[in-house]
């Protein structure tokens, strides 16, 4: 009846994100940030030292710092403890009694709200339900909502749907949410991108560019992290196999390119195992 024990999984890379239907641009003068349900209780299902949660928290910290810097208001949701049957409604049938222990109610320490932030009481999946959140956003003249936190396919996604129906543009930050599983995480991103909002990566908001693994420079930088060679000694026309690149690392690259819609295979790469030849092949495939 309760939430299951949750495992870690890799957060989606930029190249894995779904295509957005809308071309909304994030505008700091119109945006607010919602940090959704990052309470000890919900985080606890991931166990101690869970790397997924550690990364999500680091990303939310960076995003919150960005919001402070750009005068973007920050909101939190937190569910109350010991809700009565009437207050909790059908959630009891689905998830049991929910949060009972007062020590589990606060937001996790690493993201503790400050005086500048607003903490909303959360009653249902959507942060807007039984709450004046919409009015608070209107008062602040905010009609864009960045959403981060847990769990992606439940409260986070539902809040995005609800925001959309209130003519507030939801932006789901793909690598600052966590979910029950990667499948459910991706399902939430796909639904929002196709039906009610925009899916966005941390790198896009913060202006930090991720490596282009199809360009000579981007691929070289990536490969140099895998092999034992200094940058100034590396020759793009020398065999990468001689440099110690192994078949499994090549397979990982194939998978990364596949996520960008570029199909290659191990055998064709192995026959021309130089960086220069690979970049040329990738260029051809992009044109295909």
């Amino acid at each position: 009846m309760s939430i299951p024990k949750l495992n870690h999984y890799p957060l989606p890379r930029d190249a894995e994100l779904p295509q957005n239907r809308v071309d909304w641009e994030l505008d700091p003068t119109r945006a607010a940030l919602l940090i959704h349900d990052v309470q000890h209780y919900f985080v606890g299902f991931y166990g101690e030292d869970n790397p997924l949660i550690e990364t999500m928290i680091q990303n939310i910290q960076a995003l919150k710092a960005y919001c402070y810097e750009h005068n973007i208001p920050v909101y939190y949701t937190a569910q109350p403890i010991k809700q009565g049957k009437h207050e909790r409604g059908l959630l009891s049938d689905m998830w049991g009694p929910g949060l009972q222990d007062p020590t589990q109610q606060p937001i996790v320490d690493a993201l503790a709200p400050t005086e500048k932030d607003v903490v909303l009481t959360k009653w249902r999946y959507s942060a807007f339900q039984k709450c004046d959140f919409e009015q608070q956003l209107r008062d602040q003249q905010r009609d864009q909502l960045l959403i981060v936190g847990i769990y992606g396919h439940i409260g986070v996604m539902t809040t995005a749907v609800d925001a959309f129906m209130r003519d507030i543009e939801p932006f789901l930050v793909a690598d600052a949410i966590a979910d029950f599983s990667k499948e459910e995480h991706m399902m939430a991103l796909n639904f929002v991108a196709k039906r009610c909002g925009k899916v966005i990566a941390m790198s896009e908001i913060l202006g930090t560019q991720s490596q282009d693994l199809t360009s000579l420079e981007g691929l070289k930088a990536h490969i140099l992290t895998l092999i034992d060679c200094e940058e100034d000694e590396f020759d793009e026309h020398e065999s990468l196999i001689d440099y110690g690149l192994d078949s499994v690392q090549v397979m990982n690259l194939i998978s990364l390119w596949q996520q960008q819609g570029i199909e290659t295979n191990f055998i064709e790469l192995a026959q021309i195992p130089t960086l220069a030849a690979w970049v040329e092949l990738l260029e051809e495939r992009k044109e295909d």
Partner: protein, 437 residues
Amino acid sequence: MTHPLSLTDSQHAMWLLDTISGRGELFNVAECLEFKGKISANWLQQSLHHVWQASDTLACRFIRSDDYTPKLLPDDTVPEIISQELEHDPEDVLAFAQNFAKPYLAKPFDLNQEALMKLFLLRAPEQDYLVIVAHHLLLDGYGFGLFSQSLNRCYNALSKGKPLPKLRFTQQQQLLELHNSDAYLAQQKQAKETLNQWLDAVPAVNTFSDSKADVAEPNTRLTSTFEQSDWHTIQSAAQIADTTSSEILLAAIAASLVAQHQNYHVTLGMVMMNRQAIPELSCPCVQSNVLPLPLNLNENIDLSAAAALINHQIRALKKVQSYRVESLKRDRQKQGKSLSILGPTVNLLPFASAPKYAGVATNSHILSAGTTDDIMLQIHLLADKPATVDFDSNIARYTAADTLMIQARIFAAAEIWATQPKLTLSQVADLLRKKDL
């Protein structure tokens, strides 16, 4: 007039295994390429013709001279793809293809007389199926991939009305010259010393069974695929531990042996691609090798440390991978040392691809990857999809229940260690034992 050429060490080793065993069929391998639609038999035969004749390591016979020295005799007779009509599309393609290939896998090739590949195009109303049965002396896993990929390139060129591509395969003579070069021979000498030193330091080699069996005993296969969610956790653990999913699987195999034998020295048999130089990478032939991967683990290492040790040892193994396992066994025999030098054999296969034939998608099914006297784990690494593992085991040593238990233990070890990468090896082994695994 074509002259017979010498065999490479790998070809020679396979030829000897075939000849000495007198059971050539043990070295047959088979694959079924399932086309998700109908294809042109004519284009396929033309493609085969072009690929076959571009390589003397394919277009040849492995003849035996009067003094019993095997030679490679170029022979450009191209195998005919035998076409057969099927009334219905099979419901279970793998089972159907295995059943179809069975009699051909059971029949030895005549090395002197025959091309070492048979091809069958099975034509059902909705789909076509290409079943290929070959002798391991002709191709290994990489060689098979190179052959298949070239066939696909040619087919697609024909379908577009383009000229057939120029296939730049390395020929036998070039391969022999590379393998006879001073640098290569010096590398072999060094490899021999290193491998023997490693084995001298190994106290005992354990596998999952204590009994012995002959390679001629039949093998059975259990195929298992990781759950998507478990695979995501393994991928995530690989990111955290700065390693790869395959090294986590090797760590899990090692952990399951530790749980069984309570010995922290683990030796795996690693199938090595054994192709370093570009000419070797462009030759559809047999070249792979199986060598010991000794892992001196200890009870306190966590996943990150275990994966780092495995990575370090594989890098060292790569430097010595050209020294044949048969030569290594001979060295051990001469020194009066144990011939038991390999634990369970592991084959990491990153060669999977699903090429389209003029827009028709394909799916590849490996029907048989050869024979083992112990257990061989063929790990298919499929880009972002969960890995599939074939457990091929010798029935004289493993019952179906034994193999199922080995599979459960290894998968559980991978899941436990990936979920909690900070657990030590002894804790993982304890958890496996507590679960009766």
